[in-house]
Amino acid sequence: MSIKIDLSKCTGCKLCVKACIYSAIDVVEKKAYINNNCTLCGACVSACKYEAISISKKKKTAFDEGDYEGVWVFAEQKQGKLAGVASELLGEGRRLADELGVKLSAILLGEKINGLGKELIFYGADKVYIVDSPILKDRLDETHADVLVQLIREHKPEIFLAGATSFGRSLIPRVAATLETGLTADCTGLAIDKENKFLLQTRPAFGGNIMATIICPNKRPQMATVRPKVMKRAQRDDTRSGEIIEETILNPISSRVKLLGFIEELSDKVNLEEAEIIVAGGRGLGKADNFKLIHEMASILGAAVGASRAAVDAEWISYAHQVGQTGKTVCPKLYIACGISGAVQHLAGMQTSDYIVAINKDPDAPIFDVANYGIVGDLFEIIPVITTKLKEINGG
């Protein structure tokens, strides 16, 4: 297991040196050499035009491929209501299952949730595994992970997908670590490598500056969390039929973590991850009071309110609204950025939105590079007019 440079192929072109962010390659007398900084990330392998660099890895197959079959999606729910990402996963899972010619199953855990089973079939599942138990009442990692591990060990799916929500991103790593399999976080693209039947998992890394495609060749299941709102929702079809299987779990564990209560953010619609439309404000607003312009437009559009870090740091709005690398990652249908310059850290959190509208008085602001519609001008003049127009339309 190591990285090798075939010196007969190396031309000393230094493409690999440029590609390495860890300064791990030195070129001496027109030949490249790897030094101690190497993390084996593989960036140089893809950068080399001469195929001179290779990373070799011992092949070991710890599973019998034939044993693992089917696509599973975790149907996240809260208090008997399915999370939006569940129908997106079913849409995507259906596509993958059809491509592989296997069944699509949904996994539903909770208390008093039997009624949701049918829904999942309408959205495309062939089978629904339900565990309905008081120990699964609260969404706690330990109990849910224990149940998922037992189900996966018993039924052996080849692919397991969950939403990259706060719950999914805490729970699923626990499952993957127990099963000692790979897990790719926050994917924005999934595909099947036909030849090997591998799941190709594409995700942004380095704060969205780079996309990486990842596989899990030698362990099963292949697991991924999927960014909400990116995949297309499955169409609901009330005529679909499928199988609902109620599972009972032997010797369930109890959680050492207890949920005492929940404090809803009541001040504004803050559920940015679920919002179809987000209106966001930045430093350009000038002061806290001016956020009312954003709130007004948002309330007419039924939108959630987002903010740049600059606005949060100035304490014009709470951190729960921050979008970006150190805030939330969102993917609404429409993102309206007002007085936000579009620093890479902000873009990292919102650039996968379907439509981006930017209002900024600086024509060179980087936000315009990602905007579908740009408005160069003073937001204090433009926002009120847009809001009034929207009101007129809604009224008439």
């Binding site: 950068a47 805490s170 790593p173 704060g207 990486a212 005492l260 579908n372």
Partner: protein, 261 residues
């Protein structure tokens, strides 16, 4: 109270870009920094120690130059630091990383609390924290925004989720991952900086922490990166021009047409 903090040295991602023509990373002027979330983790550990007493140990796994972030940790007020460094650790994905860190934590020995950042800026996975907890068989609470109360092994926390905050009660030993809201990190004192300069950073390799070769680095990593490429360059943007009223009308029309509103 024995607290362990896991921090990582990451490239400053503001400066990492991909050259769309050659599809390679352009690393011009990229410096290495402490992963921003990990600074909040470290600050919270030091605050707890100041409040209730104890010891703060900081671990990082990385190449030799990652010792730099441990010096910064000393400057901020950490008591002990260890660098987990071995050529065999290279190429680790989250599973191998969390295994290696959990072996390092076992070697440190006694602990009540482990604090990690919410996620790193390079890997961006947010998986290492929960995976370490699983390896050590302890509970985990992610996205912690506030420690409300900690006494006699009982701990009360607030964590941020999509639509609000959960109030959580649990017991130590515990692993938690923290978000930016939890505190305001301090600036290292001059005394701290002087101390950090002089300190010798202990380095542990795979055999020091008793890590199995099959579970570390590339061999211990089930996932494999097969392709790295530039994100799709932005959609063809259009600048809307005219008087504010005109612009507003154009915009609404376009959004209506696109069935966005």
């Amino acid at each position: 109270m024995n607290i362990i903090v896991c921090i990582k040295q990451v490239p400053d991602t503001t400066k990492v870009k991909i050259d769309p023509e050659t599809n390679t990373l352009v690393r011009e002027g990229v410096e290495s920094i402490i992963n921003p979330f990990d600074i909040y983790a470290l600050e919270e550990a030091i605050r707890l120690k100041e409040k209730i007493g104890g010891n703060v140990t900081v671990l990082t796994m990385g190449p030799p130059q990652a010792a730099e972030v441990l010096r910064e940790a000393i400057a901020m007020g950490a008591d002990d630091v260890y660098l987990l460094s071995d050529k065999a650790f290279a190429g680790a994905d989250t599973l191998a990383t969390s295994y290696t860190l959990s072996k390092g934590i076992e070697k440190v020995g006694q602990f009540d609390l482990i604090i990690c950042g919410k996620q790193t800026m390079d890997g961006d996975t947010a998986q290492v924290g929960p995976e370490i907890a699983q390896k050590l068989g302890i509970p985990v609470v992610t996205y912690v925004s506030k420690i409300e109360d900690i006494e006699n092994g009982q701990i009360k926390l607030k964590r941020m989720v999509e639509d609000g905050y959960e109030v959580i009660e649990t017991e130590t030993p515990l692993l938690m991952t923290v978000i930016k809201e939890i505190n305001e990190p301090r600036v290292p004192s001059l005394r701290g900086i002087m101390k950090a300069k002089k300190i010798e950073i202990p380095i542990w390799d795979a055999s020091d922490i008793g890590a199995e070769g099959e579970k570390i680095g590339l061999s211990g990593s089930p996932t494999q990166v097969v392709r790295i490429f530039a994100p799709e360059v932005s959609k063809e943007g259009e600048i809307l021009e005219g008087e504010p009223t005109e612009i507003a009308e154009k915009l609404i029309l376009k959004l209506k047409k696109g069935k966005v509103i």
